[in-house]
């Protein structure tokens, strides 16, 4: 079972990678994107050239045929520019679904191998939280297909997270150490994984909103240039808020459950252990985001920066603290 789980992880990662390429294809050649427009432009110029050359009013669709000798442009590609990428995007979503199934199977076989819930160490925790992330993403994309361009960034994040988990964080499947052997593991860690997964997905529209609003302000240099093909700023911002508003109470609950467990295991509900400190920092940072969001005098972009900063504290808590700081949560590595 443990072996099967180990073999399923690369399957999931590869499927996410394929999905990412699908989203990328849609993103790069998508209907209203800059690339699509740029690809369409020579065709129009060719029409002009064709008109001038032959002296007849040729319809735009014949442009490729007319100038076949000058610029090789297969006429059959013209309709595909419109249809192909859409296809790629839909295929990407179904590959994401397939990857998510492999991802889930990785977790389930892992749990069966260890004979417990599959979130007893950092490797498993990262697997679990990213699974929550992908489920959240799939729910979003099926509810609102307009969000599909975000898939590129979601799968990119998933590939990075899972790749790092498989290569660096991997630990053998084993039973729990005594301190973790409690039903609170099911409550506290699953809540933390769900909140982290949601906040991971919340981070994507947050960053894209900032990019999109920079684009809307007229910026055209690199990160802002992506903005051309993103959903509208307002939609991204609203999605960011709703994901965070949904995840924040779960994160609060995760910390509370952790405190109750800490009382039973270590005798105190709060002891400023490095992990506790950083989850407090993240909580305050996300509270600041939600607070900024409802403060009328704070701009939406400023508020969203809070969410980005808060996500950075989550990453620090997950990756840096587990490796650098020695604390009571150290067995999590």
């Amino acid at each position: 079972m443990a072996e099967l789980s180990n073999q399923l992880l690369p399957v999931a990662v590869l499927a996410y990678l394929v999905a990412m390429l699908g989203y990328l294809a849609e993103y790069a050649f998508g209907g209203r994107g800059m690339v699509a427009r740029a690809a369409a432009r020579p065709a129009r110029e060719l029409v002009g050239a064709g008109v001038g050359g032959s002296g007849s009013a040729a319809p735009a669709g014949d442009a490729g045929v007319l100038t076949a000798g000058v610029l090789t442009r297969d006429p059959s590609t013209a309709p595909e520019v419109k249809k192909g990428p859409l296809h790629a995007g839909a295929v990407a979503v179904w590959f994401t679904v397939f990857a998510a199934i492999a991802h889930l199977a990785t977790l389930v076989t892992r749990g069966l191998a260890a004979g417990r819930v599959p979130w007893g160490n950092m490797y498993e925790f990262v697997l679990a939280l990213s699974f929550v992330g992908v489920v959240t993403w799939l729910v979003l994309v099926f509810a609102r297909p307009a969000l599909r361009p975000l898939g590129l960034f979601v799968t990119l994040a998933l590939v990075l997270i899972l790749g790092f988990a498989g290569m660096v964080l991997y630990t053998e499947a084993a039973p729990l150490v005594p301190a973790l052997n409690s039903y609170w593991l099911k409550i506290h860690v699953s809540a933390a994984a769900i909140a982290s997964g949601l906040l991971l997905i919340g981070f994507v529209p947050a960053v894209l909103f900032l990019i999109r609003s920079a684009y809307d302000r007229g910026k055209r240099s690199f990160p802002a240039s992506i903005g051309a093909r993103l959903p509208e700023a307002e939609a991204l911002e609203r999605l960011t808020f709703r994901l965070h508003a949904f995840a924040f109470p779960i994160w609060t609950f995760a910390i509370m459950a952790g405190a109750i467990w800490a009382e039973a295991a270590w005798g105190r509900y709060w002891g400023w252990d490095p992990k506790e400190t950083w989850s407090f920092v993240s909580w305050v940072a996300y509270a600041a985001y939600l607070h900024a969001r409802v403060t009328p005098s704070v701009k939406r972009t400023v508020a969203t920066w809070f969410a980005v900063a808060a996500w950075i504290t989550m990453v620090v808590n997950l990756y840096v603290i587990n490796f650098v700081a020695v604390g009571l949560h150290s067995y999590a590595t």
């Binding site: 039973p175 109470p249 105190r268 400190t277 939600l290």
Partner: protein, 510 residues
Amino acid sequence: MTGVVASARAFWRWLTSMRTALLLLLLLAVAAVPGSIFPQRNVSVESVGAYQTQRPELSRWLDRFGFFDVYASVWFSAVYLLLFVSLVGCLVPRLRLHLRNLVMRPPDAPARLERLPHYAASTDDRPPAAAAEAIRVSLRRGRWRTAVRQHEDGTVTVAAEKGYLKETGNLVFHFALLALLVGVALGSWYGWHGNRLVVAGEDGFCNTVMQYDEYGLGARTGPGDLPPFCLRLVDFSAEFLDNGQPVQYTADVVYTEGGAEERPYRLRVNEPLRLDGANVYLLGHGYAPVLRFTDPSGTTREEPWPFLPDDAMLTSSGVAKYDLAELDTGLAGVYLPTLPDDPSVQRSAFPAERDPALMLVAYQGDLGLGTGLPQSVYELDQGQIDRGELVEVGRSMLRPGDSWRLPDGSTVEFVGTRPWITVSVRHEPGERIVLFGAVALLAGLMVSLSGRRRRVWARVVPDGDGRSLISLGGLTRSEYPGFAAEFERVTQITRGEQRTPLATANERGT
């Protein structure tokens, strides 16, 4: 004088503004970070000491600014106290306003309903009073709070509001934060803790500060406030996987509370012993080699010496000290529960006792115990060795049952080992308040994030021949994408059967 009052008012306004609260929240997050970078006294005094010896110059400055006690430092306290003052300053007026809103009727319709984000119009065959009453009744059925106002020009307005829970949740959330602070403060005043190492089969200990290896009393707690109970360790067992990872620790203890008879309890890591006014937690465990020491005169003593674990395989080190009249003996030892294949490694191969061995280095001379200075019970005083007052007289590896004769004629017999545990005894009276506060906080948070405050107004104007023109306006006061649909439902309800939409009325007019 007025200047002072004015600037004080300005400061208060600044402090209680939402932007300041936001700034303080950020400051709080940033201020909490150093506590995870530098070692903290409240977490581990030993690591602070180690850090100080490593970087004495830097440590002096860090200590001066409280970086080893971040969460008790002046600056950290200043941030959260300012935040809470800001919170109170912001909450009290909001609470007053909210209570007034709950009692008062929803405000009257604005002059131009068509300027609101949601607007609809229709006609009604009944006179304004009856039409407005019908609207009121249907809104009331939808659990809207309503108020009907009769105006002098014959216009009747219906004002309706819904979603008061949002602000209620918001206030509960913020007041719960205050409750949390109160709970934490109570805990630090009236709480206490003590840590103690207990060897199996020994007398154990009773709950007095004298009997703890380390203890801390809250600011308003005295040694006399500790409830009377005694506890001893009968046996301890640990289960390990083949790779040495622990699976379960079980400590069988016996306790008496307030002079009652002894009761057994199975103490485990996640299963503390909960007594009246104190909880006992299992923190750690280890081995205590039992040595039978016979001095040259033939006097024999047998006792366990707790060794502290150095690694996950329970390689443990410690010391046995024999303070005799003429010549002291100190035995510095390393205990390996499972001797590795290569004994020179001096690291245990497994945490359970599969092939135990005790490596001893014997020193004789003056242990320095008579000086009155406190000494570690786990190591020899290196100063005594450096000064030549303690001299190494031999080394040996003992298996259980082995005896070792020292040059002066004393003998050391390694009888075996006994397990020991460390327990933490704690009392935290603020816990209940903190838990209550946390639950209220979460409930308030969820209500506040999911609630939606919205208002609907209807203005019913007489059209001159006994019928009514109705205009409806709607407004949300928070993020609520579904309001358009809800407003649509409201307009449909108010239209009813005998009323016709305005568009139709217009057609009839032409």
